[in-house]
Symmetry: C2
């Protein structure tokens, strides 16, 4: 690690703390919210994690010359939607996972009913935060629209359905696998970049360059996720290892082998970095983040 | 029924058809949405029903002098959120209902996983429709905010949690029961009126008068719902009868008796109608709608 990436690493750690502080603030008790509901929402939302989506929002905003603080609400909204999707995906009727980020999953602790409702509430609150705190309101409306498209039936939820349908089936091609991941994880990552650019009021050209970066990063992220499932350890990843294979899920390594998967992830990260060229030095943190995704062990 | 109310009845029927047509249009196949997901969403969304919330949006808009067509997207969004809440409430881990509106519930037909995801997608699409189709964008942002507050942890979801927690317990008072219903059903009804007023760009005084109407109507609606559970028939209501009592749920009739409940509903409807006085003749349809709520048999 060069001193340069180490500085950026410290900056990212600082941004992560800003996000965590703001998420905690958003989970403070409020009239009308039942205690157990708020507890269940906070249990999953404040469980730590990489905060990748919020970081992408903040960095996209700064890369377009915007003020990071103005993007903090949108950053939190992205994490709320990501967390809701994890809570629902872990349910017994879906992936039936008992552990997540090294802790018991929401429904194991709070029961299925409250887990479903905590997810619903987090999804809803994401829109509340964006509609209320993003300025000006025209940008807030655009951000709500991006968020809904990325999270909805043609985006993340559609990807989860396609993923469940594909379990135990043989997918015809890499294209079919990528079509699932582009929606299931890619759409929300891409959306993170888009929101940051919108809030900075960057040009449409800047926004499209950043979402292209997001699309490449999303696929690279999924491939490294699959690779970690094959090679990782439960301690580092905080969840079961080898579960994909056990469940008959098709993954990049199962379709194209470990080495070719690693190669593809590297090429995607190179393409992601390439698409940042118009931003020059200002894009350094996003470049570094892309390389972290490649090298992560959890 | 006077000729006057019969005319209004026909108008409401016509509005309902406009809403149904627009909902069907919104459920047309789109790239990226898996067929089964769309089928599951449509199964519940296009199952008919009173379309009370959409009617309230359209009528509130016209009552403030706005153009009904401009409120149609928001009307559909309200029905999407209402439908998602029914799908999730019916799940085995919640109310565990097998029938709804006279048909099998979503999870009975499509399985739990798809039912949860169809609900998630409908909730998300509601925000998509409002953010995209409500004009101008400043009003769209306000409508997204209203919607999220009404549907979220301090509104509808919070009410559902409080309702589940209250099952089999003795609630201290009518206030405790009303606090549940104000969130579980009232918040979304009130929000319907608020969105109609916002889209018509009515005055804040008009909007508050309409939301007061909505608050009274919401409670009256819940009381008549409880009364129907005691007195209704499965044919008319399309769902099991006497389920509340069987489940140990406290209701208005169980707390204050059938006659006093009926009286309270009547007083609430009178208060709802009273709050429309500033609108004169233009509020006639909302008045009629309030009386329908009182007299309905399903």
């Amino acid at each position: 690690m060069t001193p340069h990436t180490s500085l950026i690493d410290e900056a990212l750690q600082c941004f992560r703390q800003e996000v965590n502080a703001e998420l905690s603030r958003l989970m403070e008790p409020q009239t009308g919210i039942p205690d157990r509901l708020l507890e269940s929402m906070s249990y999953s939302l404040l469980a730590g994690g990489k905060r990748l989506r919020p970081l992408l929002v903040l960095l996209a905003c700064e890369t377009c010359g915007g003020d990071r603080a103005s993007a903090l609400p949108a950053a939190c909204a992205l994490e709320m939607i990501h967390t809701y999707s994890l809570i629902h995906d872990d349910l017994p009727s879906m992936d039936n996972d008992d552990y997540r980020r090294g802790r018991k999953t929401n429904h194991v602790v709070y029961g299925e009913a409250l887990a479903i409702l905590a997810g619903d509430a987090l999804l809803t609150q994401a829109f509340e935060v964006v509609a209320r705190d993003v300025r000006p309101p025209e940008v807030a409306a655009l951000c709500c629209l991006d968020l809904a498209r990325a999270a909805g039936a043609a985006g993340m939820v559609g990807g989860q359905v396609a993923d469940l349908e594909a379990e135990g089936k043989v997918l015809g091609s890499m294209d079919a696998l990528e079509a699932i991941h582009r929606r299931k994880t890619g759409a929300l990552l891409e959306c993170s970049l888009s929101l940051g650019a919108r809030i900075a009021e960057g040009t449409e050209e800047q926004r499209l360059a950043l979402t292209h970066y997001g699309r490449c990063l999303g696929l690279a992220f999924q491939i490294t996720d699959d690779l970690l499932d094959v090679r990782g350890t439960q301690v580092a990843t905080g969840k079961g290892v080898g579960k994909d294979a056990a469940r008959g899920k098709q993954t990049y390594p199962s379709l194209m082998g470990v080495e070719a998967s690693q190669m593809r992830a590297e090429l995607l990260v190179a393409e992601a970095v390439e698409s940042l060229s118009m931003f020059g030095e200002r894009a350094r943190p996003l470049e570094t983040l892309a390389r972290f995704v490649l090298d992560r062990d959890h």
